[in-house]
Symmetry: C2
Subunit: 397 residues, 2 copies
Amino acid sequence: MQLRFARRISKTKKSFVREIFKFLGDPEMISFSGGFPNPNSFPVDGIKEAAIKVLEADGANALQYSSSEGYLPLRQYISKRYQKRFGLEVDPSEILICNGSQQAFDLIAKVFLEVNDTVVIEYPAYLGALQSFGFYEPSYKEVKLTSSGLDLKQLEEALKDNPKLMYVVPNFQNPTGLSYSAENRLAIAELLKKTDTILIEDDPYGELRFKGVDNKPIKMLLDEQTIMLGSFSKIVSPGMRMGWLVAKKDIMDKLVMAKQASDLHSNYFTQRILTQYLLDNDIDEHIKKIKVMYLSQREAMLSSIKKYFDPSIITTEPEGGMFLWATLPEGISSMSLFQEAVNEKIVYVPGDPFYVNGEGINTLRLNYTNSTKEEIDIGIQRLAKVFNKAIKKTNSR
Amino acid sequence: MQLRFARRISKTKKSFVREIFKFLGDPEMISFSGGFPNPNSFPVDGIKEAAIKVLEADGANALQYSSSEGYLPLRQYISKRYQKRFGLEVDPSEILICNGSQQAFDLIAKVFLEVNDTVVIEYPAYLGALQSFGFYEPSYKEVKLTSSGLDLKQLEEALKDNPKLMYVVPNFQNPTGLSYSAENRLAIAELLKKTDTILIEDDPYGELRFKGVDNKPIKMLLDEQTIMLGSFSKIVSPGMRMGWLVAKKDIMDKLVMAKQASDLHSNYFTQRILTQYLLDNDIDEHIKKIKVMYLSQREAMLSSIKKYFDPSIITTEPEGGMFLWATLPEGISSMSLFQEAVNEKIVYVPGDPFYVNGEGINTLRLNYTNSTKEEIDIGIQRLAKVFNKAIKKTNSR
């Protein structure tokens, strides 16, 4: 028998991040690779109380089929939170519950993308989104990410052909940890207004700001044209796969059809438990604890980097989120050094998969949320050994 | 701003079953429309015990990210169950956990289908699968479903051009309730062996046989070429969205990539709770109770039909599962009578959405698992009023 796969899958590469998983079985391995939250931040007791409450009060309904849009009280909670955080009015009917933001990428691509349609992305861009869009075979236009947001000249250029979609992570971007300034958001909205481009504004880390002040979502400057994504993965639990998207009615109607065809609806049992947890607990208090944890982990990583890394290695200093982005001197490939790092029992994500055109070989992403301060210090020492040696070798050439 | 959706979505029709949901808010409405299990069958206490156990013993891990393939002990459980039920050997690595079988349709289509590729389907066919495949814009070839399985002449004809996929529900098919005989399965496997066609063998109801004897899966006759689907929706809980697919390694590799791009992995929190429930309870005992329930609901529906329906209305008498299939006299459209039925406070699913070419207008699907015996009797009386009147009118023309 001959296997006849679709063209779209033959274009899809195996995820490098998945490949890294293989190494995590080794108990001596320290990992800065995944985007895993600190498990100490999970509200295990609160979830347990919520699960008992839901199952005792309304168990049979919580286990039954439900609506494709998601559990209304959960969508109402999300709506109220936007109101409270930003004064942003989102009707619950404009919210669709998805399996994490990852499913939102797939649903949006399914509804909008034809082969070769253009998607404007950040440079570098979140690889999970690239992976998801990739199945719909778009072309990409990359716009450089600076310390205050998108390079506006490049953006103007990228928008000239009226691309279908544009995907951004304006708060503590994955992989760089960089955020967009208020001015940058305004300029982006102004440029987009002249197009029919749908902006996908992804915000998995926005709640995790431990320094500086929040900026309002671009959606508030570009309401009709924006699909906003959110997630409980980083503030409650990623294993629950609970995220959402916000879209205006005409778009939502199509997205709901795509959601229904994809898996009918998101896990209703979990939606019920999560909602109960959110209603019975002060999520702001919980998030405060996470932020204290992550700030101290970030400080630990930055201070170890200062201590051990060759000064020619530059890193971002994010005001929130989960990642640092490191840039090695020109010409040194973090991918080539990966195996050496594995031998030293330390893993990270090389920059390459975050670029669609095989660039950024001297960059890498470092996650600090899933290691203790001790592990962070040892891990950075191990990395320094590998990187500093490579730098010395290059310099002595 | 101009909205520019992809062509695939403009071809997608709104689901009629979703439209029916609107009427279910009326407390006097009796519904034979959905494929909802009887909520009395849900093991609420067992799930509660399992949730407490998992969260107390390993809560932080249960709330963390996990692997795209699914929780290994859950896949091992499924593997052992195939061994026990049929002597079928399935390695856990050949099992992928999905959000119900519905997501399996999407993943398989994503991995195999190009625009206009042929999918062989039953006539009539399960509309959820049609909806999911529809996004990938295939052509369909329909093969008539008889009381013992597929019409083999039509199947031979349909396989002539070596179609990419074939989708069947051999046990208590949705919508008809019909099952394939052992001979029919053998003949299907023989015909498929001469092709490169991948068989999708969907089995959401196979465990719910209350009469007759089980037939072995077609997969056992056509191992390499079959993707088998299964689900906990009908034996534990549909709200959990826990299903799986079984595929050989080469196919599985691609499906895992599609799964990862779609939503990273299925809800791990629920996988853990479900597994704990399955390990701590005797699922066979539980299924036995469901079968007693469904048999008595089926009997109630068939006996009310005999009492009230005009004898020109023919129904199937399934040996398991959740549905009866009714055929009105030639020329009477169940869709045209739908509004009249709503006025009488009874809803069903007209046959039309189960056919891709707008046929089967005189057929309808009746679900008996989500109504009490009293509701079934009243509902059938209401339906009889509508249908018998239409038949009388036609006869007197």
